[in-house]
Amino acid sequence: MLIAVVIFMFLAVGSEVAAKVYIDVDSPNFQLFPIAVCDFDVTYVHAAAKSKDSGIELADEVKRYLTMAGFFNPLNKKSFLDDKSARSPSDAIIFADWAMIGADYLVKGNIKQSEKETISECRLFDVIKGDLLFNKKYISAGNDLKALAKNIASDILFTLTGDEGDFNTQIAFVAKKVNKADIYMVNYDGSDRKALTNHRSIIVSPRWSPDGRFLAFTSFKDGNPEVYIRDLKNGSERKVASFEGLNLCGYWSPDGQKLLLTLSKDGNEELYILEISNLKLKRLTNSYSIDVSPAWSPDGKKIAFVSNRGGSPQIYSMDTDGNNVKRITYEGNYNTSPSWSPRGGRIAYEGLINHKYQIFTIDEEGNNLLQLTFNAADNESPSWSPSGRQIAYSSKINSKSKICIMNANGLNGRILQENGGSLTMPMWSPRFK
């Protein structure tokens, strides 16, 4: 476990924090940062350490995490012209050599491993300007290079984008084998997949609480679709909605006190707010049409939802008291699964186009529609990362469905999970500390 002690050493001239201009990584014209990550110089390795190549391993892990973040293009080290001055001060680096191979940024560092701890110094340079962007020292107990690499990558991302990224997050999803499904979760880097429920039933709509401690979902475990909240700390589960007919789980309020629900108990599908502490219900909609999939805005003031009141399923928004209903989507005749960007402003959803479901985003006023996926699969259930820079979704061809991640502009996709059943309904966790 990494206990990061980070020491800032602002050595560079002209590193005025206030003057920082971040690159707009969400722009459709954004080009991946070309970055050169040198193998870390190994200054000391204790005798028991197996890998003598910990410097190479650390560099590889940093590159892996940078790639995952979706904004970096780590250059192949075979193209490096100069890799002998890892310990030299910044003025000794021949930036022209790095610029020549196309690098915008350069990472250099060293690593020292004893049996008890790992110490690494890492520097990030702007190749074009010849500036040192940061110089940090990481001291961690043990020899976990992955955790160290994750921290280094997170700092690089923060320096360049002003955002810590999504490295310390998990993604929940539903895995279905034959007719039995359960909710699983996996780390952002695709590691440590594990089951969160053991219902072996129909199970849909996993929703993290804002603090990441609870997971709400809908399960048919007892025969009918009912809403449960599971405490992920102690594994206890309680039913919070089991009315006649449909009980479907929506998003949590940003303060974690309330849960949005779809219930059919009053005759047809309507949206409700459930106060979790006392299970009190407040009805929000009153329309003879399907109202479903409510999603809270990050500022807590609005709720996006799906309704077919206009003749086809479309995305709408309303105030949290049910007033001020506004239609958001007009393109196409099947738009569902709204998810509000944590940074506000935009809503991701899935829409039917050319007989396939694709992921779109649109701003909350209904303008600036952007199609993000274009392939031959059915791409569904978008869920934003906490940074708002990436989107997880399920991608289905016939019965085979996998979980993918892409940038919020649709670029740089990767597969997060694809085996062990049909994987659907990804839901991104908040950041864990």
Binding site: V204, L246, V292, V306, P313, N398, S399
Partner: protein
């Protein structure tokens, strides 16, 4: 004395044989009893002994009657038991038949893509379903709404619920008791045809009726 013994022996045999008969036929025993009395009257010499024997016979007869009554009761019980068993078997059989017929008679209805309105062909089916349910006084009906695999799991959950509800409404309008009808949506989670073409989808957009008879 020897004669007396013979008489007693005669009566014992007679009584024993009587008891044999009384078990299954009371009437016959009564006739034989009469014959015994005749013999007693015609036999003057043994009148006294006969009287004593008669007492013994009467005692035996009482015992016989008791045995007879018990046997009759047992027979009646057995009959009742058999009857109950038969009735039970018939009930089970009838229920099985009723279930099979209910499943055959109460047919699925189908929907258009992203629609929950009852189609013209479904109206006919629902009418026939309602007729059957009313005639057979079904105890409970569960309407299951299903969708095809296209589209959102959540939206399809709502759509399936709507499909079930629309059929319930239709059945209630035709006179079926609303309180006996429950609805449940399985969304797109339980397709009947696992295919990925319109033929499969058309089969999967359905309401299925699960009927329990009384």
């Amino acid at each position: 004395m020897k004669k007396n013994l013979t008489w007693i022996g005669f009566f014992i045999v007679l009584a024993f044989s009587l008891s044999m008969f009384t078990g299954c036929a009371g009437k016959k025993a009564v006739v034989k009893e009469g014959a015994v009395q005749d013999q007693q009257i015609t036999s003057d010499q043994a009148a006294k002994d006969a009287a004593a024997a008669k007492d013994a016979a009467a005692a035996r007869e009482a015992a016989d009657r008791l045995a007879r009554e018990q046997a009759e009761k047992e027979a009646a019980d057995r009959l009742a038991r058999e009857k109950a068993q038969k009735e039970q078997a018939a009930k089970v059989e009838a229920a099985a038949t009723a279930k099979a017929t209910a499943e055959e008679a109460v047919k699925d209805i189908y929907f258009d893509f992203d629609a929950s309105s009852i189609r013209a062909d479904a109206r006919e089916v629902l009418k026939a379903n309602a007729d059957y349910l009313l005639k057979n006084s079904a105890a409970s009906i569960v309407v299951e709404g299903h969708c095809d695999e296209r589209g959102t799991a959540e939206y399809n959950m709502a759509l399936g619920q709507r499909r079930a509800q629309e059929a319930k409404k239709y059945l209630v309008n035709l006179g079926v008791k609303g309180s006996a009808i429950k609805t449940i949506s399985f969304g797109k989670e339980r397709p009947i045809d696992p295919g990925h073409d319109e033929e499969a989808w058309a089969k999967n957009r359905r309401d299925h009726f699960v009927v329990k008879t009384k």
